[in-house]
Symmetry: C2
Subunit: 363 residues, 2 copies
């Protein structure tokens, strides 16, 4: 089907006056919801004809779209971003350009056959075909795998910005993070390795800890500790690693407190998640005398505030380069047929396995 459509469309539309009519034969599958609730209940798979892209718009066929925790929370109504109903689930995907609207002007340098990712949030990516504004899409090198491209705009970008924007890290410096087995944690480990920064990761203890530790050290982690080991570690006191300048927290509660205790004078803790559902506890003395700073990071806000920024293109170029040379891989994941969405959205937050796994829809 993809092959057929590509052949059909791989020519400038202006030379084919009948393409619009033919195009109507392409049906899109779309995962919609009309109210907040458990995703397995409120999502409905709908089929609908795909309209023509207009001037400045681009029709893409989706190749892969992941299920991120924030997508689930959004559908549950627990996320600060509230969509207008009916809404389409999902925030990330990679697609292939099937057609470019109008005479092709206003679509930048995009061509039919290009691989693209949307970098705006809230576009609704859980659909087999979609029409996006050309200015909402970014071309992705063809050499980049579907899983990497489909998951690049949230977790690797979050890791990248947190490592770049809060303290000035030099080679040999240490970063400490909890939830090191999360998708973002895996990206952070690989970015640290690429930049010669020591990344010490914390995970909850589990039967498969040894296996998980091997996996994460294989990605480039300098050391992996359980939460219990963190409490008594002498890695920093004994100078095995420099005291961390930066702590990345997606857990909160006691574990975040333990993380902050390892920070160097004037260190920064950046919170980007709260898996424990407990707040961050900050001892007064660590603020006043140790000069620690506690801040948060939200990729959605960064993207909004840096829409036309050169920082964004610099970031993506560096990430593409890292992926290209095998230094940044997609997080542990499982491609799952779009039709199996009920299984996927129901289990997304707790896939079994030694490392947190991410579902990616394939179409």
């Amino acid at each position: 089907m993809a092959q057929m459509v590509r052949q059909l469309w791989n020519v400038p539309s202006a030379t084919h006056p009948f393409l619009a009519a033919r195009h109507m034969s392409v049906m899109a599958k779309v995962l919609r919801y009309g109210e907040f609730g458990e995703p397995g209940k409120v999502l409905q798979l709908q089929e609908e004809p795909v309209p023509d892209p207009k001037q400045g718009e681009v029709l893409i066929k989706t190749l892969g779209a992941p299920i991120n925790p924030a997508d689930i929370n959004t559908i549950q109504g627990k996320y600060p971003v509230k969509p207008a109903f009916p809404a389409v689930g999902g925030n990330e995907c990679v697609g292939e350009v099937l057609a470019i609207g109008g005479n092709g002007s206003g679509s930048g340098s995009l061509k039919v056959g290009d691989r693209v990712v949307p970098f705006s949030t809230g576009l609704g990516t859980w659909r087999s075909h979609a029409i996006y504004g050309a200015n909402q899409l970014m071309k992705v090198p063809a050499s980049i795998g579907v899983a990497e491209a489909a998951t690049i705009t949230v977790n690797p970008c979050t890791g990248y910005r947190m490592l770049k924007d809060f303290v000035a890290l030099k080679p040999g410096d240490t970063v400490i993070q909890n939830g090191a087995n999360s998708a973002c944690g895996q990206a952070i480990i690989q970015l640290c390795r690429a930049w010669n920064v020591e990344c010490v990761g914390i995970v909850r203890d589990r039967p498969e800890f040894a296996q998980l530790k091997d996996y994460l050290k294989g990605l480039g982690a300098a050391e992996i500790l359980t939460e219990e080991e963190l409490r008594t570690t002498k890695l920093f006191k004994d100078g095995i690693f420099r005291k961390p300048k930066l702590a990345l927290n997606c857990v909160g509660g006691k574990n975040a407190l333990e993380l902050s205790r390892q920070l160097d004078q004037a260190g920064v803790m950046v919170t980007y998640g709260g898996m424990s559902r407990e707040p961050v506890t900050v001892p007064t003395a660590s603020l006043i005398f140790k000069d620690l700073r506690f801040v948060g990071f939200w990729m959605t806000r960064w993207t909004k505030e840096n829409a036309g920024s050169v920082l964004r293109s610099e970031m993506f170029n560096e990430l593409f380069g890292l992926i290209d040379r095998g230094a940044l891989k997609a997080p542990a994941h499982e491609m799952i047929p779009f039709e199996d969405y009920k299984t996927a959205v129901t289990n997304a937050l707790n896939i079994q396995g030694f490392v947190g796994k991410k579902y990616i829809f394939r179409f």
Copy 2:
């Protein structure tokens, strides 16, 4: 006595070869401690002859020296700054220059009769006479009262820096602070008024709340609320005041949490004390989605890091100017004879009254 000594010394020492010998007749009273413990027990009032100031040194007669909470905590051994024993208590004072060491070179522009404050910390100011390095002293305009000068380097400077260094406040912006009746809180209220910033202050409920509220509004507070009133206030929701960009916290615990809830998007909470002895609790969502930042401030560190900075002279010039035109008064205080030190240090942390009062030794 002060008058006699001033007459004796109010001439350049180089023209009086016998001054050193005469000087030995001046005896200093000094409050020393040789171990950590309760100040009333470990402090001892000693008398000793005052040596000659050497080249680059200055002999001062102390006119006033306050008892700050940090002074008590230092003597208790609960403060991160640990003095070498035997140590002299106190960190702030104002003095009058009695004599300048050597030929007077290396003493900057200081002259006999000048009023000075030491701006280094840990010098030990609880003594009737002291010899300091000229480079540790700053001249204070003679027009400034003893209480104002004796208390300028800790609380007004702390308030000044916290209001200047974390967010850019414009006239009409709001600052919210707890412990608004503390010495620092009183300085913050007055600085806000001088800069046309609305200061909303929080205090614990108490029988004399109405009286305290009047007093603090008299200093310039836009509004004073009890901790209970803070929880349900609509001052910011209803737009009576702009949502605070800055929260100043010297309490911690639940009250700090309530304070942070009133902050505007991307607001900053600066912690400079922890009277409740409870940590600051930071909800994950306030970090990620509201972009709040939690930092600390310690005047001692600022002073160390900005020893020769133009920021410091700018700050003191502005503070002197405010005091001069009556816009910045000393905190509520009581001058107490140096000999009554046991009463003073024992009661320093809980003087009775509708507003926290500060003891200032007079000599």
